[in-house]
Amino acid sequence: MSILPDGRFVDDAPYDPNVDLSAVDRSDMDASNWLLVWRKFRRHRLGLVSGIFLLVAYLAIPFAGFFSPYTPNERSAEYLYHPPQAINLWHENEFIGPFVYPTQAKADLENFRWNYTVDETLPMPLHFFCTGAEYNLFGFVPTKMHLFCAPEGATVFILGSDRLGRDIFSRISYGAQLSLTVGLIGITVSFLLGITLGSVAGYFGGSTDWLVNRAIEILRSLPELPLWLALSAAVPSNWGPVSVFFIISIILGILDWPGLARAVRSKFLSLREEEYVRAAEMMGAKPSRVIRRHLLPNFMSHLIASATLSIPAMILGETALSFLGLGLRAPAVSWGVMLNDAQNLASIEIYPWTAIPMLPIIIVVLAFNFLGDGLRDSLDPYKV
């Protein structure tokens, strides 16, 4: 700000020719909706980082076997409850590259636990791109190639081993396959149910609306977990892990749709009075076409944001069910199944690393929350 000799105030900032244009005429408002959403989302740091993290996590799922040194149910009988091992680079001020020290188990017969002594004189370098136990890459390509494995005579338990001597790190990366996809399948089921019922109720109104509304109210007023428990208790115990996994995700989805249906319904109630809907109807479009082509695209983005926010609930739900022994069962590996081992105080006190699977759960749930918040904030690019 400067003051001219005659006492007038003048702004020093350069003249912006666009300043008087209304929002609609500005050049960047020509961009497609998705581009605008992306531009706004990009500025939401936390959401962006979470989104990238989740993307990487989901893309890594097919390679779980490659990244883990062991297979999930491989037992090392001599290394039960092994504490986490450090991977070192320097041995006595000399650079060797990633290596581990071999350990030796000794039974402590007084306290009934295993003690491990580390032999710090003998660095043993890790092998890279080595052959180990056989697994299926992408779920169907049998291979023995691992990114890194333990040298002979030593182990590489980055996050420790559990009560059967299985590597927790490998189990976490295998567990991600089930724990992360459970939410996706659940949300698909809930989406299909919620959108169908919500749109039918909102579009047709009347007795359909009344029925759907009562169903929503009843389901929403019931506590979820006891119902989940009851439904999963009904899953026959002789089913294979894959079918149990699918049925559990479907159960999680079945109880989640009411919230979504409610949002869709209220939106439809107002949108069905719009002129373009009337026009479509007069041109003879069937209700299903009006709903799918004219109404739903209007707020698909909002639905996606709310879906992102309800995936974490499903991930936590799976964890809780498996933890209680009513979800996924033993040969299957998920984070909840792993936490089943950390069920008592003794393991928290003596073997705290058995509770490590809670970290990925917390991180993933947080990431979904941040991503959902970011999406929700940026979905309306015309709002400043």
Partner: protein
């Protein structure tokens, strides 16, 4: 007068909902093939124990498990007379627990009151924590107060309840000397109420309340903060500031009242989540609520026990929701009586 009519209407809808819920629960309980007794009979026959079979067959007839499903349902509810004096829920006969070999009423007994107590404590905790923190976060938005409450809130939402329970239990015991397990010291179990017993229960309640309440408090804090921020950006707040009203008085006098409505209405969302949480946490911490009973009953297909516990849990939530609806009408006269259609 209008309020009484509305309360009556609300009560009726609750009863109707409960009836529908009972059908739902009955169907879910009967989803697995067979029942506890037929499984037991098959097992006994396989091992060749004839005398047990006779008893199981007798129980099956006694509780009408050999009838078609719809008849079983009506008998269980109490709409149809059952064989040999099984009168059903409506007359206060909750059935027989086959797993524990005792009447359901004896098994749940005290657990019912303790369940109500735990959930009530958790709801109180949520309000006591969420109200000041939410208001503070909104009043000091975009400062470290705001960010740290948001961080704690997110963490509360993301940590699985049962793990939080275990960890807090461990550290609470180690550093604060809080008791481990259960809702009272063992010597008070089955004793009549006394001052010491109440004290013991209160001490035991601390950690469960905290665990069950955390995620609820986190969600409520976020909503309250959003509501408050909406209110604070309105012109009347600016006017009041310009007139020189002190910040505390300004905050509590108007915006807080406005932001309070959704707070009460939220009980409907909060309560189902809390009851869910309390079931899970009770199982982990071994509280004497109905959570552990539900789990064993579901695992062994002990159908009367499981169905009763589910019904009770549903009733608890429905009553809570009804109370919140009624409170809301009392609190805000602008809210219309009657159905929400429109």
């Amino acid at each position: 007068m209008m309020f009484l009519r509305y309360a009556g209407y609300r009560f009726l809808t609750m009863l109707l909902t409960l009836a529908v819920v009972s059908v739902l629960i009955f169907i879910i309980i009967n989803l697995p093939p067979g029942d506890y007794l037929s499984n037991q009979i098959a097992e006994l026959q396989a091992t060749g124990q004839a005398e047990g079979v006779a008893k199981a067959e007798f129980l099956r007839r006694e509780y009408a498990l050999d009838r078609p499903l719809w008849e079983q349902y009506l008998i269980w509810v109490g709409a149809l007379p059952g064989p040999q004096g099984f009168s059903g829920l409506l007359q206060g006969d909750f059935g027989w627990s086959f797993e524990f070999d005792a009447p359901v009423a004896d098994i749940v007994g005290d657990a019912l009151w303790l369940t109500v107590l735990v959930n009530l404590a958790a709801v109180l905790f949520v309000y006591m924590v969420a109200l000041p923190l939410g208001v503070l976060a909104a009043a000091r938005s975009a400062t470290w107060v705001d960010y740290s409450t948001a961080f704690i809130g997110y963490l509360g939402l993301a940590t699985p309840n049962f793990l939080l329970a275990l960890i807090l239990f461990y550290y609470g015991h180690k550093h604060l000397g809080l008791p481990i397990g259960g809702l009272m010291s063992p010597e008070f179990e089955g004793e009549p109420m006394s001052f010491d017993k109440v004290k013991s229960i209160l001490v035991h309640l601390i950690i469960p309340t905290f665990v069950i309440g955390t995620s609820g408090a986190a969600g409520m804090m976020q909503r309250l903060r959003a509501n408050m921020l909406d209110e604070l950006s309105k012109p009347y707040v600016e006017t009041a500031t310009a007139k020189g009203l002190s910040p505390t008085r300004l905050l509590t006098k108007y915006p807080l009242r406005m932001a309070f409505n959704p707070f009460v209405a939220d009980i409907g969302n909060l309560l189902p989540a809390m009851v869910s949480g309390s079931v899970l946490v009770s199982v982990v911490l071994g509280l004497q609520t109905i959570g552990p009973a539900l789990l064993t009953a579901l695992k062994s297909q002990d159908q009367f026990l499981a169905a009763f516990v589910l019904m009770f849990v549903a009733l608890l939530t429905l009553i809570g929701t009804m109370i919140s609806d009624l409170l809301l009408v009392l609190l805000d006269p602008r809210i219309r009586y009657g159905a929400r259609e429109g």
